[in-house]
Assembly symmetry: C2
Homo-oligomer: 203 residues x 2
Amino acid sequence: MIKKRGLLIVVSGPSGAGKGTICANLLTKKNSIYPSVSTTTRKPRKGEIRGINYNYISKEDFEEKIKNNQFLEYAKVYDNYYGTPKDFVLEKLSKGEDVLLEIDIQGAIKVREKFPDGIFIFILPPSMAELRNRIVNRGSETKESLEKRFMAAFQEIKLIKKYDYFIVNDKVEDATRNLVSIIEAEKSRVVKNVDEIIENFRR
Amino acid sequence: MIKKRGLLIVVSGPSGAGKGTICANLLTKKNSIYPSVSTTTRKPRKGEIRGINYNYISKEDFEEKIKNNQFLEYAKVYDNYYGTPKDFVLEKLSKGEDVLLEIDIQGAIKVREKFPDGIFIFILPPSMAELRNRIVNRGSETKESLEKRFMAAFQEIKLIKKYDYFIVNDKVEDATRNLVSIIEAEKSRVVKNVDEIIENFRR
C-alpha cells in the first residue's frame, strides 16, 4: 500500500464568500482532517472554547513565540495578535495527516511564502451581486462598513492569481464536494509521492 | 458563470493495470467527456466499429498525415501504424469540451512533448503480484510473452515520474471516482481560468 503524504489545505477568500461554512461542512465529512486552531491574545468571548475557537495566550507569550519563529503567519488587529502556530501543522504533516487552515487572504499569502507545499484554495462568491447580498444579509454592518467590505472584497479577488485552485460557492454542498475532489486529486500527485511509489513496486 | 476550460485527459499505465476498464467506466458516468479515437492502417477485426474502435485508413493516407503533422503522436507496430489525430482534440478543447485519451506509456510521453497542457494520469496495479495475476488470468499469453510483459511493466512504472497523477486501481469504482476527482480539481485550477475569473467579477 502506498502511504500518501499529508497535506496543508489552506482555504481562503473574501469575507462573505462562505469559507467558514465550507470548512465546517468539510470537517463533518472528513474526520481525518485536522483543523488548525489560531492563537490569539484577545480575551475569549462568551461561548468560545479554548483549543476549539482559539488558543488564548498573553501578549508577552505571543511576542516570545514571534521571536522564536513559531508562527506560519501572524497579524496584529487593533490591539490583539492572531497567529497560526507552526508546530501543530508540521507535527500532523510529518505523520501523514492533513491539516485544514481557514484564513483571510493576506494571511494565506504569508503562509504561502513560508510553506509553498501547501495547497491554496480561493473561495469565490457566485457573483459580486451575490456577495453584496450576503454581506447585507448579515445585518451587522453599517452602510459605510458594508461598502468598505464590498470594495475590499473586489480588490481581494484579484489576488486569486496567487492561489492554486478556485471554488465558486453557489451551493455549500457542491462547493464542499469540489473541495473534497481537490484534496483527493492533490493526494494523487506523482511529484509528492514518487519515492514511495517506486519503493512500493521494487522487487 | 465562469466557463471552465476544456481538458485533455491522458490515461496511461502498464498493460494489465486496467486503464481500459477505468476509461470505459468513466465514459458511462460522464457523457460530457469525448474519447479520442485512434487512427490505424490495420484492417478492422470482427466486431470492431469504424469511428468507435478506430478510424481505419490506408498506409498512404497515414503517411500523408504524418507529413502534415496531423498526429499528436503515432507509432508503427509491426507493419501497422497507430496514431492520435490532432484535429479532433484541438477542436473539442477550443469549444471548452474535455477529451479522454487512453494510451500506452510511450505514446503518452510523446503526447506530453506536443501538448504539455494535458493532464497525465498513470494507472498503477495494487501491487506487482496483482499485476502478474491479471496478466496470467487473461490467459492469452504464452509463458515467455507473459514474463516479457511483466518485466516491461516493471520498467514502465519508473516512467511515472513524467506524469502528473497516479491512481492505484484496486477496485474499478474507486479508481474511477479518483479519476473524476482529478478532472474536477484540474477544472478548478486558477492558472487555467484566471482571465475568465477576473473578467467575471469586473464591475
